[in-house]
Symmetry: C2
Subunit: 375 residues, 2 copies
Amino acid sequence: MIPSAAPSAIHRVFNFSAGPAVLPEDVLLEARENLLSLGKSGIGILEISHRSKEFEAILAEAEANLRTLLGIPKDMVVLFLQGGASLQFSMVPMNLLCPGDTADYVVTGEWGKRAVVEAKRIEQAQIHIAASSENEAFRRVPTDGELQLSARPAYVHYTTNNTIFGTQFHRVPDVGSRPLVADMSSDFLSRPVDIGRFSVVYAGAQKNAGPAGVTMVLLRPEVLRLSAVQAERLPMLLNYRTHIEHKSLYNTPPVFAIYITHLVLRWLVRNGGLPAMAQHNQTKADLIYRAIDAAPGFYRGHAQPDSRSQMNITFRLPTPALEDEFAKQAKVQGLDGLKGHRSVGGLRASVYNAFPLAGAETLCQFMAEFARQHG
Amino acid sequence: MIPSAAPSAIHRVFNFSAGPAVLPEDVLLEARENLLSLGKSGIGILEISHRSKEFEAILAEAEANLRTLLGIPKDMVVLFLQGGASLQFSMVPMNLLCPGDTADYVVTGEWGKRAVVEAKRIEQAQIHIAASSENEAFRRVPTDGELQLSARPAYVHYTTNNTIFGTQFHRVPDVGSRPLVADMSSDFLSRPVDIGRFSVVYAGAQKNAGPAGVTMVLLRPEVLRLSAVQAERLPMLLNYRTHIEHKSLYNTPPVFAIYITHLVLRWLVRNGGLPAMAQHNQTKADLIYRAIDAAPGFYRGHAQPDSRSQMNITFRLPTPALEDEFAKQAKVQGLDGLKGHRSVGGLRASVYNAFPLAGAETLCQFMAEFARQHG
């Protein structure tokens, strides 16, 4: 169902980068066609006004497809912003916390930690760590039973998938009636999600959804608790209400990044939507985890099996020298971007939606051969 | 010296859009070649890691060319950020003002007004309007003699070119030893500038320098006056020091927008640099202003002659109905994007660096003909 053969004649490697990451080749080919002239407009997509009817149509279709794919409820707004998830780490607490409020954070990796750092900058708000797997080297995500939630937090924040450590929530945590906020950057659009259970969802596009430079935010305006006094001090650009009122066009949006995301959303619709992606992603991840488990004395998966990510597969070899050798030899064979995050080392295979099955198969063959030679 | 003929066979119109705006066709063609594979990497420019050596080389060359073109002094840092000039409206006061400080603002249009609105959000700081041409419908920029500067402001802020009203400073205002901050978004790289006279310069790329989605900031770290207490409350992403320390790579940068800007900077270097651009831009602007002045009863330039912008040429016709007719007929003839900003109406011809001379000539012929028919 998901195209695996390259439709173009251009030499392309298997790109395991954690993000920016591989995009569907169909999308790149279509973008290429429109770089000097968007359709018959005579104006390239990089040059077209964000107030043009052509771009308005792109933005509207992107939102409509996103709503269809995820089943976004009518009372949630969809925004296309700049600044990445990193800016959302600040915008969420700035817009959702009043003086005296508490927010709960579930910390399962580096990005969750950074979200906490930014939330703690808010004056007169309490940030409560509802769970953290840091003392277990972030090898797993907590169970619902382990969550120590506040009675009435303004929201509960968690990270659905942890790119660096290779763990993922395989359920939406049960937080009762508390508003739920999720950083979905690295598994957004990779599987169906019960989006109705969330109050805010945000995601940088550069994993499954598009290129770096645009961030999608889905939110229910009812959770915005910013007082008039707070709003007076908050930069217009950091106030969600500004972007809601102006439909993501308060200032010049990142036109091209939105355009590519729009093409990716169309590609998703054409290719069976999120159920098809979930199956495709599971097939690839299962293959690679099986290759890890097939040589247990040689490969060591970082994540505990029940928390394994289908997006980022992290593993170690017996020595850092062997890990370097692995990445080097893999690159020669057209398997690129396998080095782990610079903060933790090891190896990491990121296999987002657009990553082809053939790439996972080739990696598995390489892993078996490498273990045979060096094990 | 500036290529004016279209090197590609693709139908392109003359795009007078105020931004996002026309880009050099050479740049678009090169980007097109690298969309599926950056050089021989086998990874497209939209998919490549921001930590890759390929992207590091792009970022380094972009900075080096920017330094050469503008003659940026060594003690100024160069940053590539997200959020547009609109986010800089906030970041400048957030990073340059301490409690009790005063900042002077010269207001010559809508963007200067918005900069003031954001600066006034800073607690315990005074914002002093050193000059405003609002009661003259922003038809001109003030003389140095009209500036009522504070004795010791933290900085003096002004907008070098006003896209909406079509006015431009043809000098760097004399502010003595006061630190000078400029929003150069709409004439950045259009002419040589004595950059040594500035403490902070910022510019959204989407006029002369690249596509929407990246903002360049040049600054002297000595003007950063943020106290430790203030820094504790400021989002990491809004603190210039974060971006200085991480060399614009604190979080995922807008890779593709930076890449295109890098190609534009190379194109500028190849085509004679800023002196050549200044000459090219003056030639185009002179032609169009001459066409306005040639039919004084029919066309009325908005800007006073001594404040006329070489980037955005604004003019009115006897009635709004005639203005609509003008824009409509012009579009049919391949002259696109001539409607004025939705807030002021009228007509506007934006003729940035990459706008070809032939487009200005074609517009002038059209203007003469239209005036003959309807005058």
